[in-house]
């Protein structure tokens, strides 16, 4: 804990920054204060200060505002300040509304409950054992547990009914909190461990079932509060005195961890995980300095301290196996590094081939990362940079604020994995086949680049790729992939509307509506589902609400094929006009002229407006949208 005078200084800075509506300054100081002080009064102070700059946060930092409703059976109010602050630190402003204690069933089932009328963006369902599985403690206590499994089935069934009923009438994202395994039971530690139907086992099974249930409901994520409780110590997670006196379910000392866990969990429904981890070599991927210690002298392998680095390498290998791209950004001679990987292959968990890109040179690291972003066609906000050198870390932070920087502590190499896993940037509640294959896809990208440099014209190159586009309903492809694309595509995204799974379903089901995805493959590999369009009929027009394409396939004419397909489907449903919309963002300039390039005419608004959506139209009866000749089409009912 820092001295009281530093604490006061930070509070003053937060207050001053808030007074001049300096969002970045206020957030930075609040982050520092929260890292140093756990005083509830400081948390409330930050909550108050940040609540006063809601508009500035949105305008200056693009903070997302979420109308959030808390469905609860326990006392949550004292924790809300922590929740609000942690949310702002993760770039969300929560407009919070809390439901009644006993009202959860009515709120979720009744179509004009206060929950439904609130029209939330996000619903947090925080129920306790008594409401979810009130009979379980009693049924487990007798030791035989004959009725335990049936009770678990019934609990899951009841929860499924509540969630599905609410889901049918709302597109809000849902977070469902699980149960904490009770610490004190009449069976005692030995019975809890050995009896198959002990309460510990029953609650863990119930949690697994609830998590699986969340996976079957669109835009719903399971919040494993037991994991947090176990980390804190289950006996201390709840203060029995306060729970029994006031129904406060979590002891005050854990409010921050609880709030942070909740924010981390719902964040996965709003933003995509980062995609690339750039690691330094010396004193990060291995111990010591290659240039001084030589390949035989660097620390890696099964003996301490080399095994600390081996653990880190294994962690990176695991990230790579679910599609996180690995790259090296190191100031070294590339030949020396190659030699080290060769000489020490038996002591390393990674090989040169584990990395999709290498920047081993003496350039500025920020420049290297910038080059990587260009080569991989990824935004800088997809990058994580790990380095032990504080100066390098600070330089990257300053020059590339979008990049997440993780500072490895060279003196404590055993903490490297812990420091990395504490960070939320690789969090995903869903992993799709497309994620897992991404690493192969980027290797294929490198081969395409090679081919492009050997073939003459662009058309010749594209023809030689043998591109095949397959169109299908977004409902037939994994819906999670469609939503993932909507959530994370920035560059080639005409309107950047972050539609939810439920909304995609609405487009697919609407009369004359379309929710179509495109799957792309070529001779080098299968890129998977990389594009999506949502459209619906309005009178004799078909209006395109969303059209987007993953940045890694831009420039091959796939966007034209997708538009042609949408146009064709619109014509089939009886539309005479196709209407497109472009909403400019900081990132989507690459598709600003998309509609005009495809023969659309701009609809001039009656009054001249400088910003906001721009609409385009195309007369489908007079012009034909064609797909590029080098693309073969599948699933196209012509």
């Amino acid at each position: 804990m820092q001295s009281d005078s530093e604490r006061r200084e930070l509070r003053r800075e937060i207050k001053d920054a808030a007074a001049r509506q300096d969002a970045a300054g206020a957030v930075a100081c609040a982050r520092r204060l929260m890292a140093e002080s756990s005083k509830p009064a400081d948390v409330q102070f930050c909550a108050t200060a940040l609540a006063g700059i809601g508009d500035a946060l949105r305008e200056q930092l693009g903070t997302r505002r979420l109308k959030t409703y808390v469905v609860r059976s326990v006392t949550v109010e004292p924790m809300l300040a922590s929740l609000a602050v942690e949310a702002v630190l993760a770039n969300y402003v929560l407009d919070l509304e809390v439901g009644g204690y006993g009202a959860y069933a009515d709120e979720l089932l009744n179509f004009d409950s206060s929950l439904v009328k609130f029209h939330p963006d996000l619903v947090l369902i925080l129920l306790d054992m008594e409401e979810i599985a009130g009979r379980l403690p009693e049924l487990c206590a007798e030791g035989i547990g004959a009725e335990v499994e049936r009770e678990i089935e019934e609990c899951v069934g009841r929860m499924a009914q509540l969630l599905r009923s609410y889901r049918a009438g709302s597109t809000a994202r849902i977070l469902l909190q699980g149960l904490v395994v009770p610490d004190c039971t009449s069976l005692g530690d030995v019975g809890e461990a050995n009896l198959p139907h002990s309460l510990t086992n029953a609650v863990q099974r119930l949690n697994q079932r609830l998590a699986a249930l969340c996976g079957t409901i669109a835009d719903c994520v399971f919040f494993d509060v037991d994991r947090l409780a176990a980390r804190a110590g289950r006996a201390r997670w709840r203060d029995a005195r306060m729970f029994l006196a006031t129904r406060l379910a979590v002891a005050a000392e854990w409010f921050r961890d609880y709030a942070r866990g909740m924010v981390r969990t719902f964040s996965t429904m709003y933003r995509a995980p980062r995609k690339v981890l750039c690691t330094d070599l010396d004193n990060t991927l291995w111990g010591g300095v290659l240039g001084e210690d030589g390949p035989e002298g660097i620390a890696t392998g099964s003996a301490f301290p080399g095994n600390c680095y081996l653990e880190y390498q294994k962690y990176l290998q695991q990230l790579s196996s679910r599609g996180i791209l690995l790259a090296i950004v190191s100031k070294n001679n590339e030949d020396d590094a190659r030699e080290a990987f060769k000489v020490r292959a038996a002591d390393l968990a990674l090989s040169m081939d584990s990395f999709v890109a290498l920047k081993i040179n003496w350039n500025e690291k920020a420049d290297s990362i910038r080059e990587l972003a260009k080569e991989l066609s990824l935004g800088l906000d997809s990058f994580v940079f790990v380095d032990d050198n504080a100066v390098e870390c600070e330089a990257v932070r300053r020059q590339l604020p979008e990049v997440a920087v993780v500072e490895a502590h060279a003196a404590e190499p055993w903490r490297l994995v812990e420091v990395l896993s504490e960070q939320p940037f690789f969090d995903a509640a869903v992993v799709t086949g497309d994620d897992v294959h991404r690493v192969d896809e980027y290797r294929a990208q490198a081969k395409r680049a090679e081919l492009a440099s050997s073939v003459g014209s662009r058309d010749e190159f594209l023809a030689s790729l043998g591109i095949v586009c397959a169109f299908q309903s977004a409902l037939l492809a994994p819906l999670s992939r469609a939503v993932q694309l909507l959530a994370k595509t920035n560059q080639f995204n005409l309107t950047t509307r972050r539609r939810s799974a439920a909304e995609v379903e609405e487009y697919a089901a609407a009369e004359g509506g379309q929710a179509v995805v495109v799957r792309v493959r070529d001779r080098f590999g299968d890129a998977g589902v990389v594009g999506l369009a949502l459209a619906r009929r309005q009178g004799d027009s078909c209006v395109i609400d969303s059209l987007l394409l993953s940045c890694r396939v831009i420039g091959r004419g796939i966007e034209s094929a997708l538009l042609a397909y949408v146009g064709q489907q619109a014509l089939r449903s009886g539309a005479k006009r196709l209407v497109g919309e472009y909403i400019a963002t900081k990132k989507n300039a690459p598709c600003a002229d998309f509609y005009s390039d495809h023969g659309f005419t701009r609809i001039i608004p009656s009054e001249e407006v400088s910003s906001g959506p721009v609409f385009y139209e195309l007369d489908l009866t007079a012009s034909v949208l064609t797909s590029p000749k080098w693309i073969a089409l599948e699933g196209n009912e012509r």
Binding site: K39, A41, Q44, T48, P78, M242, A245, A252
Partner: protein
């Protein structure tokens, strides 16, 4: 009476929790005289005080500690260093 009779640490803590200026935290300030002092803020204040001074209130006393003077007296009774 004036706010000087409330120890600085308690005054600042309650000012944060009730979102008012420290000058307003006088011994007479109570749940009945301050709108932002509702039952949930009361619980939040109790939790903040417990954390700040390392004490645990008897739950049965909590609903009675509804003024600054009473909170302060209870803390003194429990031997807290204010």
């Amino acid at each position: 009476m004036s706010n000087e009779q409330v120890p600085t640490s308690l005054r600042e803590l309650l000012a944060d929790i009730f979102e008012i200026s420290p000058e307003r935290v006088t011994p007479e300030l109570s749940m009945g005289t301050l709108d932002s002092w509702d039952s949930f803020r009361h619980l939040q204040a109790i939790l903040a005080i417990e954390g700040e001074y390392g004490v645990q209130f008897d739950p049965q006393r909590i609903p009675e500690l509804t003024s600054v003077a009473r909170l302060q007296a209870e803390l003194v009774k429990m031997g807290a260093v204010l």
